[in-house]
């Protein structure tokens, strides 16, 4: 059975976590944009990305428990689960890279890693948007 849950069907904790993730993504975007000007922002950004990793795991857990409660088998929405997996992998990687470099990521030898962290943030934000927009995309199709 194909079922595309909407935000208001996902329950309050999911919406709260989703809102928190949105706020943290905003903070991460600003911090990542300012990394080159203020290298000391590397450590706060590490914390924000680490928190986002666990927030995504929480969102995934809430989604799975909701399916258990409703006794549903929506195996046709693998795209949704893959988006969660990709976001967790990318955010964990960005946290690891920033954890290694910290405030020295603004240096010349950290250029590739800096771009990689920005790509991780952008791609995981798109994954999060894809998770929520999925019902609307399915409707259009």
């Amino acid at each position: 059975m194909l079922y595309f849950p909407r935000m208001n069907e996902l329950g309050e904790p999911y919406v709260v976590l989703y809102g928190a993730a949105l706020l943290l993504f905003g903070a991460a975007a600003v911090l990542a944009a300012l990394l080159q000007i203020r290298p000391q922002l590397g450590w706060p950004l590490t914390g924000v990305l680490g928190t986002l990793t666990f927030l995504f795991l929480g969102l995934l857990g809430l989604d799975v428990t909701r399916l258990y409660a409703l006794d549903m088998r929506p195996s046709g929405i693998a795209y949704r689960w893959l988006s969660y997996a990709a976001a967790v992998v990318l955010l964990a990687t960005a946290t690891a890279v920033l954890g290694v470099f910290g405030d020295r990521i603004a240096g010349a030898h950290g250029r590739e890693y800096r771009v990689a962290v920005r790509v991780c943030i952008a791609a995981s934000f798109l994954a999060m948007a894809g998770i929520v927009l999925q019902p609307f995309l399915a409707m259009v199709r």
């Binding site: 000391q40 195996s75 992998v89 910290g102 991780c120 798109l126």
Partner: protein
């Protein structure tokens, strides 16, 4: 400025990027196989509620660990500067491949052939 880390362990960052790239490739290839081959889908279905994605999650964790730890050990104490660029572009290509090849329309695409 005071820092706890006197030295940058680039080996860990390079291994993390390489592991993320490999994991994304494993995920899209695994998803493609699960969609196309019912036996693979059955094998990956560890939790019926999640479908084949449950097996894909485990596969992703295994792939990340299997690449991250050996690569970290391999890069440790070595000059990673020559590997920086290839790993970075491999990672970018993996993100692009994952984004494109997990779109349901793309991985569900097929060509029907009829023999006259």
């Amino acid at each position: 400025m005071f820092s706890f880390h006197a030295r940058v362990h680039e080996s860990v960052a390079a291994a993390a990027l390489l592991a993320a790239g490999v994991t994304l490739h494993v995920l899209w290839i695994g998803n493609l196989l699960a969609v196309r081959i019912p036996a693979v889908r059955e094998t990956f279905t560890l939790m019926p509620e999640l479908g084949s994605a449950s097996g894909l999650f485990c596969l992703a964790v295994a792939a990340y660990a299997l690449v991250f730890f050996p690569a970290g050990v391999w890069f440790k104490g070595r000059d990673c500067s020559h590997a920086r660029d290839p790993i970075f572009w491999f990672f970018i290509a993996s993100v692009a491949a994952f984004a494109l090849l997990t779109i349901p329309f793309v991985h569900g695409f097929g060509v029907a052939m009829e023999v006259a």
